[in-house]
């Protein structure tokens, strides 16, 4: 009786694909050659449009852009694990998984260029818009997961957030409520180890972020976020658990922000270049490429085709984005309420009179 153990906490980390591109056989998920090549393709596409966006920003053709360089494996792996009817609730550094879930790239460009239409996704695309207030989206993830449960839908909510966002109260409330309600939600932390200039160890004293799941009575697992197979397996497992009615999971993907926080940031002010070099060696794309090559699933010919394909696709999306006619002034008012209120009507009329001279 006196000193008893009332809880034993264990948190595991999953790794399958190492830096040399070797995989841990028994843990390797069952994926067809096409699926594996598909993952590689997805990541290369992400890298391509991310680079393009940065270039456009320097040219004044794009607004503030948060690069995803280095985080492609998390986004490709989770996307592959998700089902058609699953909801995606992004933070603001999820362009990759958003595109894979059906958000047209030209709209994502439009959004970051300062056009609200960039968050008007096509009918049927189950994706929330970017959530700028850090951490706030965790609550939506819990809410959508509860909604799916209440409505008896065989689907899940997958909500993303960064390491920094785990410090916000909303992270806690969302995971705690998800635990109580057994919401159909997977909480994915893209732990890129930095929140602008604040490194993870100044963000929390916990050894891992995955272990925070112990506070909510839900499973938590850490994966090497630059290992697309580990990400896929863990996400798949979490989603299977939901489909089996076993509730939410916290998934921490340890990755690294290879770029600046955004194009408005200069990471060299606060980050050690050696750390950056360190992590460039762990590039998730490089790693998968090595695996593909060593397992004979790839060759330079495929490589060139893909490069070309990526360039063409990105250019086409840029064209589509830049061909968008400007929004009408009236759109400033059109979506405030289902039915415009008198003051909205009055103010819209005043603006239209002003712009029409």
């Amino acid at each position: 009786m006196p000193r008893t153990r009332v809880y034993e906490a264990v948190t595991e980390r999953l790794e399958i694909l190492d830096i040399e591109g070797r995989v841990d056989g028994p843990l390797m998920p069952e994926l067809s050659a096409d699926q594996v090549r598909g993952l590689y393709r997805d990541m290369v596409m992400m890298r391509a449009f991310d680079d393009k966006a940065l270039k456009m920003q320097r040219q004044g053709r794009m607004g503030t852009w948060p690069p995803i360089r280095g985080q492609e494996a998390v986004q490709a792996g989770v996307a592959l694990a998700m089902g058609d009817q699953d909801w995606l609730i992004p933070a603001f550094r999820e362009h990759g998984v958003m595109v894979l879930r059906g958000c047209p790239l030209h709209l994502i460009f439009a959004y970051w260029a300062g056009d609200e239409r960039g968050s008007a996704f096509p009918e049927g695309v189950r994706c929330f818009p970017v959530a700028v207030p850090v951490g706030s989206q965790w609550q939506h993830g819990a809410g959508v997961g509860l909604s799916l449960k209440l409505q008896g839908e065989d689907a899940a909510a997958v909500v993303f957030g960064g390491d920094g966002s785990t410090s916000e109260g909303d992270f806690h409330e969302a995971l705690n409520c998800a635990g109580v309600f057994q919401a159909r939600t997977v909480f994915v932390i893209q732990n890129n180890q930095w929140a602008i200039s604040v490194p993870l160890h100044r963000q929390t004293a916990s050894a891992t972020l995955a272990q925070k799941a112990h506070a909510y009575g839900i499973p938590g697992v850490q994966v090497d976020g630059n290992d697309v197979f580990a990400v896929y397996s863990a996400a798949r497992e979490a989603l299977d658990r939901i489909r089996a009615g076993d509730g939410p999971t916290l998934l921490e993907a340890v990755t690294y922000r290879l770029g600046d926080h955004t194009t408005a940031d200069d990471a060299s002010r606060y980050r050690d270049p050696d750390e950056l070099r360190e992590w460039e060696l762990r590039d998730p794309i490089l790693r998968l490429r090595r695996y593909l090559e060593s397992s004979g699933l790839w060759d330079s010919a495929r490589g060139e085709v893909l490069e070309e394909e990526a360039r063409a696709w990105v250019d086409a999306q840029v064209e589509k984005f830049e061909a968008m006619p400007p929004q009408e002034p009236g759109e400033l008012f059109a979506y405030m309420y289902a039915e415009p209120t008198p003051i909205i009507r009055e103010q819209e009329a005043a603006l239209l009179e002003e712009v029409q001279g």
């Binding site: 819990a142 809410g143 909303d170 969302a174 979506y335």
Partner: protein, 348 residues
């Protein structure tokens, strides 16, 4: 528009329009609110209720009494103690097909939910160009008069009126309470529904048994008059009626405009009355500075300056923290203060 001295909220034109010959029953505001939720939950299975102690306890003011018995724990949900989660999860619930009616136990505890209310509930439709919307009602008892502990008496309506995207509704009687809440639940945008707790059970009045709506954005002439317009909402609309009654005996004919909805605001009814009487006194419990009375005063001056016979008077709380029980009476607008302001306007 028929005068309504008792302020029992017997149907005004718009109200009547919704219920021609309805059978009625005498209800308190609290019960009318409960019935509105019950009727809408019965009518529309997408409607759910969530909040702290809304289940077996029936809400600390019993505004959700018996709902869990009737609709079960999947539609009447006791949440953990987390206001940001109540509203934030409701954003997720509402955007994916449900119609959450959430309760914040007291308006004094809405602060933790502000980020979700303003940052998302009020913006999701606009952010997605109509792709996702948030048909959600956030109910909360507000206002003074019950001598509770700190943070249980505040009126924060002004906090919600400089941030577009959320409608703000404040009933002052059982009839409006039920009709406005049904409208709010059926509305496709977030609605903040403020409930004047001091009169939750202060009186009963006739309420149609059948569901009906009082449209959002329509003020009521709660009493007709010619010399001055008293403008209030919630419990203060009642206070205005009391003051008007006293003034009548002194030969002053006061018209009382019960705004009922602060956003959207029924400027026509408001301004028409002031143009008619030439004097206005706006009354609210919130502190005076930058309260919604300032907006009402500014609007009147912008649209009816030349018809004004005196400056618009504001009768409001002081610019101090809402006091604990023993000094509450010093803080709250009183009938005497309203009358004094009316006389000041008349003597201008």
């Amino acid at each position: 528009m028929k005068s309504d001295p008792a302020g029992s909220g017997s149907p005004d034109r718009r109200g009547l329009h919704a219920v021609p010959e309805a059978a009625t029953e005498k209800l308190t505001i609290a019960r009318a609110i409960r019935d509105a939720m019950r009727d809408e939950m019965a009518r529309d299975e997408r409607v759910i209720v969530l909040g702290e102690d809304v289940g077996i306890d029936g809400g600390v003011f019993r505004a959700t009494e018996d709902l869990i018995e009737q609709f079960g724990p999947d539609r009447v949900i006791d949440t953990p103690l987390a206001e940001s989660a109540i509203v934030g999860m409701s954003v997720g619930l509402a955007a994916t097909g449900l119609r959450p009616v959430c309760e914040i136990q007291f308006m004094g505890f809405v602060y933790p939910a502000i980020n979700q209310l303003f940052g998302h509930a009020a913006r999701l439709r606009n952010r997605t160009r109509g792709g996702l919307s948030v048909p959600m009602v956030v109910r909360m008892p507000y206002g003074g008069g019950i001598h509770p502990p700190e943070h249980h008496s505040e009126s924060y309506e002004s906090l919600f009126l400089n941030t577009p995207g959320i409608k703000v509704v404040v009933p002052s009687n059982p009839y409006d309470a039920k009709g406005l809440l049904i409208s709010a639940i059926r509305d496709d945008d977030p609605v903040l529904f403020m409930e004047p707790k001091r009169i939750y059970r202060a009186f009963r009045s006739e309420v149609p048994v059948e569901p009906y709506t009082v449209p959002l954005g329509s003020a009521a002439i709660a009493r007709e008059g010619d010399d001055v317009t008293l403008i209030g909402w919630g419990a203060m609309a009642r206070l205005c009626l009391d003051a008007a009654e006293v003034l009548a005996h002194e030969g002053v004919s006061a018209e009382v405009v019960d705004l009922r909805t602060l956003n959207p605001l029924d400027r026509e009814t408001l301004l028409a009355s002031v143009v008619k009487t030439g004097r206005a006194v706006v009354v609210h419990e919130a502190p005076r500075t930058n309260g919604f009375g300032a907006e009402v005063s500014a609007l009147i001056n912008e649209h009816a300056m030349l018809q004004l016979l005196a400056p618009v008077e504001r009768v409001a709380g002081f610019d101090v923290v809402f006091p604990l029980a023993k000094q509450e009476h010093l803080y709250l607008p009183s009938r005497e203060r309203v009358i004094r302001s009316v006389k000041k306007a008349l003597a201008f």
